[in-house]
């Protein structure tokens, strides 16, 4: 047997392993960035939704009780992190305030309520998308980090395992045409 090639083979194998590890580390970094970006986007869209809700509460289109409840829920949501239960409470308050399917359908066509409600619908849809995309990113990141190479070599570093966002963001019936 000719052993002259051994160092070369060893070198090639080592280079292969380094490349493999580097690639895996790069993927983990990229997924962490995607999860961070998705949280940022969700935060932005939820803040916009809360602002749109506050505008509606201040427009004098609802009875005073409804307006006060929605305004309070919106203010709490504005101060809350994107995973906060305050957003779920705002969703529930808005569903009650908006009424049933027929009410929403006629309000969307109303010259006063229509524009504000459509504004809310637009930012709400973006918040729904942002949460869907975030949770998809989280699921992919968790799956990636469960791979043996990444676990054993601790390629994820000290970054905690990301968790999904489970707020209630179900819109009022008929507000968003899916």
């Amino acid at each position: 047997m000719d052993w002259a090639g051994t160092p070369l083979i060893t070198l090639a194998l080592a280079a292969g392993v380094v490349a493999l590890v580097w690639h895996a580390g790069h993927r983990v970094d990229r997924m962490h960035r995607r999860v961070d970006d998705a949280w940022g986007s969700l935060q932005l869209q939820l803040t916009r939704r809360a602002s749109a809700a506050l505008d509606l509460a201040h427009a004098g289109l609802w009875d005073p009780v409804t307006s006060v409840v929605v305004a309070e829920a919106a203010r709490a949501a504005l101060a809350a992190p994107p995973w906060g239960g305050e957003h779920s409470e705002l969703s529930a308050a808005l569903r009650t305030a908006a009424g049933d399917l027929a009410q929403v359908a006629s309000d969307l066509e109303d010259p006063d309520r229509g524009p504000l409600l459509r504004e809310l619908a637009g930012v709400w849809y973006r918040a729904l998308l942002a949460r869907r995309f975030l949770n998809e990113a989280v699921a992919t990141a968790v799956q990636l980090r469960s791979r043996r190479l990444i676990r054993y070599l601790r390629l994820a570093g000290p970054t905690p395992l990301p968790s999904s966002c489970d707020i209630d963001d179900v819109p009022p019936d008929g507000l968003i045409r899916q």
Partner: protein
């Protein structure tokens, strides 16, 4: 926003994905966005000025059709150059797992990435084959869109990726306001049954429609069966015998001719056997006010709201197709109710609302 769109199939030949990308580009430009489309196309093909030709494509059997795909070192080089020179705020790739420009672009992409998945069912084998090669790159997709529930399920089952559904767009007004084409205008004693699709692709289901013809003719002797679409039907037409006189071949039609056909016909039949993920032509026919008879594929049943907006029949069953067509032509009140409901329902597929939803995805992905 500067948006880069990637089309996997050649602009040299028409197709659903190409039309979708062309119309989306138009809508985005109309709203003040800066758009560049990378697509396979010959140098000589006249293209809109926002399209960058990535060179010649090769016809390959893919997903039950012949698709013109672009690949190889030249396509890879052009894709990389388009990406690096484009300076895009966002990249929107269509069919990123079709072995063409979409996959090349995804492998080389940096920055915010949106992907739209068009195909369903039959693409699964191709999907599985491609997956190990592109799994790492798929992690770059920050916003995945499917054009239908069926496309979404395919993506979920085979690649484990969840996506939001945004249907393909239709210019509803264009079809609703088109003038009936006098060549194919139905009259009381000469109703017109229309079919649209390639003649030489078995999955378009022309065979079932031809099998139904004698039964329909027994009731409506004056029926005209107008077949619009490229390709050679081969022996299927010669085998018809006396029914051949009821068949008229319109060849491949332009958009305006298609709208004129739908506006004037008595019934549009969609006998596809499978591989349909959405059914854009059904929506176009509905927008034009044509009664629709379609095979009960999941995608078609969804567009027709389970049969409330048109009639469904068992896939590939010529007798059932004939019965549905005869019912459409005889039960005129029920048919009118369906077409009126259909004309209202199609607005959710109008480009105005589809573009807004796609822009919402862009905003979410870019964090705007």
């Amino acid at each position: 926003m500067r948006v880069g769109l990637v089309c996997p199939y050649s602009f040299d030949v028409p197709g659903g994905v190409q039309f979708h990308i062309r119309d989306l580009a138009g809508e985005l430009i109309e709203r003040g966005h800066d758009v560049s489309v990378l697509a396979p196309a010959e140098e000589e093909t006249p293209l809109p000025d926002y399209v960058v030709a990535a060179g010649r494509s090769v016809p390959i059997h893919y997903n039950g059709s012949v698709a013109r795909l672009s690949f190889g070192p030249l396509a890879a080089r052009r894709t990389r150059r388009w990406l690096s020179e484009g300076g895009f705020d966002l990249l929107h790739i269509h069919e990123p797992i079709a072995p063409s420009l979409g996959m090349l672009a995804m492998l080389n992409a940096h920055g915010p990435l949106v992907a739209t998945f068009h195909s369903s069912q039959t693409a699964s084998r191709a999907l599985r084959a491609a997956y190990p090669l592109v799994r790492a790159s798929m992690e770059k997709i920050a916003g995945a869109i499917s054009v239908s529930e069926d496309a979404r399920r395919t993506l979920m089952d085979h690649l484990g990726v969840d996506s939001v559904i945004i249907p393909n767009g239709v210019h509803v007004d264009y079809f609703a306001r088109a003038r009936p084409d006098p060549r194919w205008q139905a009259t009381a004693d000469r109703p017109v049954m229309a079919f649209l699709g390639r003649l030489d692709e078995p999955r378009k289901g022309l065979k079932a429609a031809l099998a139904a013809l004698p039964l329909i003719r027994a009731v409506f002797g004056g029926i005209r069966f107008v077949i619009a679409g490229a390709g050679d039907a081969g022996e299927a037409l010669d085998a018809l015998g006396p029914e051949r006189s009821a068949v008229e071949l319109a060849g491949s039609v332009l958009d305006a001719e298609k709208a004129g056909l739908f506006r004037g016909c008595s019934v549009y039949v969609a006998p596809q056997l499978g591989g349909e993920s959405f059914g854009i032509v059904l929506v176009e026919a509905m927008a034009a006010g044509a009664p629709v008879v379609a095979s009960d594929l999941p995608a078609f049943a969804r567009v027709l709201d389970g049969g409330a907006l048109g009639r469904l029949f068992a896939v590939g069953d010529g007798t059932a197709l004939a019965r549905a067509v005869i019912a459409t032509l005889t039960e005129s009140q029920a048919t009118e109710r369906q077409t009126a409901a259909a004309a209202r329902a199609v607005w959710r597929y109008d480009w105005s609302s589809v573009t807004e939803r796609i822009l919402a995805v862009y905003d979410t992905v870019t964090g705007r």
